[in-house]
């Protein structure tokens, strides 16, 4: 036990004497969280638009007023000819052009049919989509207010978004980010620290010593369990204080599941380090083979349900997917253990599989 402690102390020296390690451990999580939280938001405010009003009557003025007072749009320019439309898009300031046909109100009152054209700048498709939707919402609102007295039957939907009533993007990113960062720290850092010993030649010395291989591995991994756990806490606290992401369910359960996920990622890191003996390859493997799938295939940003079937299969073998499901379930819905038992089992299964493979690899290498 004393030998083991000496080992852990040495490992902490390595970590605390290398400012780059410290930066990765504590700088990156905080910065990532703030970046993701502030930058990625699905709401757009103050988009610049141009209006080409060929009628200039009461109706078009009212609609324009509504559009510009909604908070989503700012008037960049009033256009006077169709030629100008392409021109303003090319200049790049304007995201959307709203065109009213001639005799708007007259047509509307007479035939009940007036023409509005919405042109979006789809070089950024998401933004264009969202802006067009806003305008359509405003138009149908206007129409509704005109007809309010006339229509005998109405269906008025009352929408309520459960678990994230304000539809905050950050609610989605905090769980995803936790999975990504814990994966990064645990798998990358352990695989690096083990391959470093191999490169230095110190691993041979350790293997010649009376320390058992298991002690060596646990000794190397233990500090990272501790640090990754600390990181999980930092992310939860930052998410809660800065962005108001709640922890509705049990904090203890959340921490327990995080610990399980950390162990899974660590055992993956160990597996990587048994495959390679160079730090560079370990880094490549961790970053390319782990980070990208974690971001793309875990449901972190893109919904798994929309992917091609083959990719969905890949998603099912991505451990982070299950962790993200688990923490969303605990943090946002407040579910208890019985709801996430299946996912927990899968994470535990992955952990055991990776440890089994590492031990097997390790023995083969010795022989």
């Amino acid at each position: 036990m004393k030998r083991f402690l000496g080992f852990v102390v040495k490992e902490f020296y390595h970590i605390f004497r290398d400012y780059r390690t410290l930066l990765i451990l504590f700088g990156i999580p905080a910065i990532q969280l703030l970046l993701f939280g502030y930058v990625i938001t699905s709401e757009i405010r103050d988009a610049r638009i141009a209006i080409f009003d060929q009628s200039k009557d009461e109706g078009t003025r009212k609609i324009s007023e509504k559009v510009l007072s909604s908070g989503y749009f700012i008037l960049d320019k009033n256009l006077s000819s169709t030629k100008e439309i392409e021109q303003v898009f090319r200049q790049g300031n304007v995201k959307l052009v709203l065109i009213f046909g001639p005799d708007f109100s007259k047509n509307l009152n007479k035939t009940g049919n007036a023409k509005v054209q919405i042109i979006g700048d789809a070089s950024d498709p998401n933004t264009a989509n969202i802006l067009v939707n806003y305008i359509q919402g405003i138009l149908s609102n206007y129409l509704f207010s005109l007809n309010a007295e006339k229509i005998p039957m109405q269906i008025v939907p009352e929408v309520r978004m459960m678990y994230n009533s304000e539809m905050k993007g950050v609610f989605m990113f905090v769980p995803g980010l936790m999975a990504m960062l814990l994966m990064l720290i645990s798998a990358l850092m352990t695989s690096l620290s083990i391959t470093r010993e191999k490169e230095l030649g110190t691993m041979e010395l350790l293997l010649v010593s009376p320390l058992k291989p298991v002690q060596i591995i646990i000794g190397k991994v233990f500090p990272y369990v501790f640090l990754a756990f600390l990181d999980a806490c930092i992310i939860i606290i930052l998410g809660n204080t800065v962005f108001g992401v709640p922890v509705v369910g049990s904090v203890a359960l959340l921490l327990f599941e995080s610990l399980l996920f950390i162990c899974m990622a660590l055992s993956l890191g160990i597996l990587i380090s048994t495959i390679t003996s160079s730090q560079q390859i370990a880094m490549m493997l961790s970053l390319v083979a782990l980070m990208l799938p974690t971001i793309l295939l875990s449901g972190f940003i893109f919904p798994v349900e929309n992917m091609p079937v083959v990719l969905q299969w890949f998603c099912h073998i991505m451990p982070p997917k299950y962790y993200i499901t688990i923490i969303k379930s605990i943090m946002l819905q407040g579910n208890g253990f019985s709801y996430i038992a299946f996912e927990t089992g899968i994470l535990a299964g992955f952990t055991m599989l990776f440890i089994f493979l590492s031990v097997k690899k390790f023995k083969v290498r010795l022989g």
């Binding site: 030998r3 030649g201 110190t202 041979e204 010395l205 010593s209 009376p210």
Partner: protein, 248 residues
């Protein structure tokens, strides 16, 4: 210096190590006597490192009977580990730890107590004339010091045998000579030294040498006897004659 009557501390019989179809060690048989400096010579790729790794327990033999320090290499590996020291050509110290922290760490994993570690460090620092470097990072001390320190650390737990795998690689001749003085001292204190090298001048310092060519032991005797047998002026000539004999 050869202790003819001394007991055998390493016994190797018919050691074979294959990597796929490549035979790295082809039926090696030799004994190392207690307290001697045993040189294990050969060109690069002759199978020296493979053999030393098997003796240290870093690799398993394909077949053969081996005992180290009287313990069987298959069944008593843990006991062997407590009784041997090992130093590779990479010196294997941690760059980002200080001299003392390295000593404390390695002594610690061999189970030395805190007080023992303090005492031995003090003695060592005086012996190596490194007192002022005690709390410096390994990164900042010269290569020669690193090498001496690596050797001292390899024998800090007073092992019966120390295995040195090309310990003088990349070091200048003067430092190499000083390093051999340390090996002689360890040998005088009763530690058996098993050393691989491809510097033939170093072979002259050994009590007995074995010369490996292509996975086999081509010759094994004292440097004096070998030079007589092959009518050579130096160990270098002995080696060249053996290597050429192989080619012809």
């Amino acid at each position: 210096m050869v202790k003819r009557q001394a007991e055998n501390i390493i016994v190797v019989k018919d050691l074979v190590k294959k990597f796929g179809s490549f035979i790295a060690n082809d039926h090696l048989s030799f004994e190392v006597k207690k307290g001697e400096i045993f040189g294990f010579l050969g060109a690069n790729g002759a199978g020296k490192t493979t053999a030393i790794k098997i003796l240290c327990g870093l690799s398993s033999p394909t077949s053969g009977k081996l005992t180290v320090g009287g313990f069987d290499i298959y069944t008593e590996r843990e006991k062997i580990k407590k009784n041997i020291g090992y130093m590779s050509q990479k010196f294997s110290l941690y760059d980002d730890l200080t001299v003392f922290e390295n000593i404390r760490f390695y002594a610690g994993i061999y189970g030395l107590r805190k007080k023992e570690i303090e005492e031995r460090t003090k003695v060592l620092m005086e012996k190596l004339d490194m007192k002022e470097a005690r709390d410096k990072l390994i990164r900042s001390i010269p290569l020669g010091w690193k090498q001496k320190l690596a050797f001292s650390v390899a024998i800090i737990h007073n092992p019966k045998i120390v295995f040195l795998d090309e310990p003088t690689g990349g070091v200048d001749p003067l430092t190499r000579r000083q390093f051999w003085d340390m090996i002689f001292e360890a040998s005088r204190e009763g530690i058996t030294v098993f050393v691989t090298t491809h510097y033939m001048d170093e072979a002259e310092y050994c009590d007995r040498v074995s010369i490996m060519v292509d996975g086999k032991i081509a010759a094994l005797d004292t440097p004096e006897n070998l030079k007589q047998q092959y009518l050579a002026a130096s160990m270098n000539d002995v080696f060249l004659k053996l290597a050429r004999a192989k080619v012809n």
